[in-house]
């Protein structure tokens, strides 16, 4: 009997995928381990870990006096740990949102940003900062507005997806139109606002993890943890949709309904992340691409793997952002753009070659 190379290759591909995911988990853990030791406070690596354990088991760890004096436990638990975990969860969430949108729309340039969700969030935040108007008050004013506007953009995209016969190109064009619309409103507000407020808006739009906290981490984690199993469960639908609407329908996928559901899930994840962080670009665009190049397009592995790539990228970018200029923290959104833009260009070059 002839050897079945197709099945052998498929088995090899499956192995490669498992290996890639395992490697990413190891890298992520190692990187997180390094990230908690980085910061402006003068804590050694050993002290950082001692402080983590001291926070977990206050009775079991006997802290040396210098660490009690320097409030090491407070620094690690109050500043660093949730920031590191937030980078992991946010990177994961933005990347899976990107891979879902690229899959559904069959377009490598689709992402929460090209579809206008991020600029809608910026617009909402600007309204809160400059006009002081919003649905929630106090410290939640900006967050509430950013979330609401992001979901508004998502609802518009959802509505378009439910329209029968709405092709993916049309949806992308509509998303880009939304992006310009919200950007125009934001620019108008900046034009009208005072210098201090405008500065605040600009800083919000940079995107940073400075404002992370345990409650925010909790909210984002709950949403991401709820959405990921759903996406994995419907991963075959994504695979089928990537082959085209007609093919997906003939393979038993309720096309309009699942497209809309996927877009809604991806938008929700994006909205809940960027309302806390501001615009963190390129993770959602770049992470799925890198992953697809390495392990191919089966969404059963593409989703978790690109999530992990996103987590590694965002955490890595944040580490760089915190250490590149001593004493200053560059907003992580700027760092991800620095990583993202050369990659974007590389993609264009490759496409021209092909």
């Amino acid at each position: 009997m002839m050897t079945d190379t197709g099945r052998q290759e498929y088995a090899r591909l499956t192995e490669k995928r498992a290996l890639f995911i395992t490697a990413l988990i190891v890298i992520l853990i190692a990187l997180a381990g390094v990230a908690v030791t980085l910061g402006s406070a003068d804590l050694s690596v050993a002290d950082s870990y001692l402080a983590i354990f001291a926070g977990l088991f206050p009775d079991a760890v006997d802290l040396p006096d210098r660490m009690v004096e320097s409030n090491a436990v407070g620094i690690i638990w109050g500043w660093r740990l949730h920031r590191v975990l937030f980078a992991v969860v946010a990177g994961f969430g933005l990347a899976i949102a990107g891979s879902v949108m690229q899959g559904v729309l069959r377009n490598p340039l689709a992402s929460p940003f090209t579809l206008g969700i991020a600029s809608a969030a910026s617009c909402g935040a600007s309204i809160a900062i400059i006009l002081g108007a919003g649905v929630l008050s106090g410290s939640l004013l900006v967050i509430g507005n950013a979330f609401l506007f992001a979901m508004l953009a998502a609802a518009a995209i959802y509505g378009m997806a439910r329209l029968r016969g709405m092709g993916s190109e049309t949806m992308i064009l509509a998303g880009i139109a939304l992006m310009y619309l919200f950007s125009a409103v934001t620019s108008l507000l900046q034009y009208l606002g005072t210098a201090a407020k405008v500065q605040e808006v600009v800083f919000w739009m940079f995107g940073s993890l400075d404002k992370s906290s345990w409650p925010k981490l909790g909210i984002v984690t709950v949403v991401v943890a709820a959405v990921v199993p759903l996406l994995l469960w419907r991963a075959w639908d994504l695979n089928a949709l990537a082959e085209g609407d007609e093919t997906a329908a003939s393979l038993g996928v309720p096309v309009e309904r699942s497209m809309a559901g996927f877009m809604l899930a991806a938008s929700l994840v994006t909205a809940v992340i960027i309302c806390f962080t501001g615009t963190i670009g390129f993770i959602g665009l770049v992470a799925p691409h890198i992953t697809r190049m390495v392990i191919g397009t089966d969404h059963r592995t593409l989703i978790p793997a690109s999530g992990l790539v996103g987590a590694v990228l965002l955490l890595g970018a944040d580490c760089l952002a915190r250490t590149l200029i001593p004493g200053a923290i560059i907003p992580v959104g700027i760092m991800t753009a620095f990583l993202g833009i050369p990659f974007f260009l590389y993609l264009f070059m490759r496409r021209r070659d092909a």
Partner: protein, 264 residues
């Protein structure tokens, strides 16, 4: 009872009527060729049969009205090969064909699924590029991948929209004879839209000629393919020869009442 039965199928894109009162039946083991000029409604009919479009009229699958069936249920019964192939994704040929198993598999891929994929690949003679990326294939190779995917779907009805348009002479007859053989061996009902009348005549048990969305004629190739029918359907004069019991159409020139440029 016929496996596939369409009665009074009509469809309009907004206010443009594309199909008007199309009826036919198809038994297990039969290959039905859909022929007719461009824009006669062949693709629309195939889409209606897979309920990608919702037509008026009644379509029954194994006696059951398709309206009462869910999408996954239909997908287990009907496989569809679209004309302008999707399958331009970057997945491998093996994975593209594996997609045909989607209506059957839960989440993980079983040995049986992989077996069916391997079998479909070897039936189409494309085993050797199973691990190549689908978007790096030639048009003809990709077309065979799509047929393989439909076969891996293990459905009782195969709908194919011009499955041979990008194939060379040899692959055309190989794919068509494969379809005829599968229909016979596995009791499938096959509907294929085909432009090449002679290919259709040779491999289809029956033909349905569409023109302007209506049925112009139906029957066996030898009863249907006459000079008059070719003139009525395509507006050209032709000689219809007999090649060992199979009609063979040689087009000559446009009919006199038509202003087409003369075919040499």
């Amino acid at each position: 009872m016929p496996l596939l039965c369409a009665r009074g199928v009509s469809f309009a894109y907004r206010d443009r009527r594309v199909l008007e009162d199309v009826s036919f039946t198809l038994d297990a083991g039969e290959v039905l060729g859909l022929v007719g000029p461009n824009g006669s409604g062949k693709t629309t009919l195939i889409r209606c049969l897979d309920r990608i479009l919702e037509p008026e009229g009644d379509i029954r699958l194994d006696g059951r009205s398709m309206r009462s069936m869910s999408r996954p249920e239909i997908a287990r019964m009907i496989a569809y090969v679209p004309q302008n192939s999707g399958a331009a994704g970057s997945s491998t040929v093996f994975e593209t064909v594996l997609m045909g198993r989607r209506p059957h598999l839960r989440w993980s891929v079983s040995e049986e699924d992989k077996q069916k994929v391997s079998e479909a690949l070897s039936l189409l003679g494309i085993s050797e590029f199973a691990s190549r990326r689908t978007d790096r294939l030639s048009g003809g190779e990709r077309q065979r991948v799509l047929v393989a995917r439909a076969i891996a779907q293990d459905a009782r009805v195969l709908l194919l929209d011009e499955p041979t348009s990008a194939l060379d002479m040899r692959n055309r007859i190989e794919v068509m004879s494969l379809l005829a053989r599968l229909a016979e061996e596995r009791g499938l009902a096959v509907v294929a839209a085909i432009h090449d009348l002679n290919l259709a005549a040779r491999y289809c048990h029956r033909l349905l000629i569409l023109k302007d969305g209506r049925v112009l004629g139906r029957g066996t190739p030898s009863s249907l393919l006459t000079r008059g029918m070719v003139r009525a359907a395509y507006g050209i004069e032709a000689v219809v020869k007999d090649e060992m019991g199979v009609p063979y159409v040689v087009p000559l020139r446009p009919s006199d009442n038509d202003n087409l440029v003369e075919i040499v």
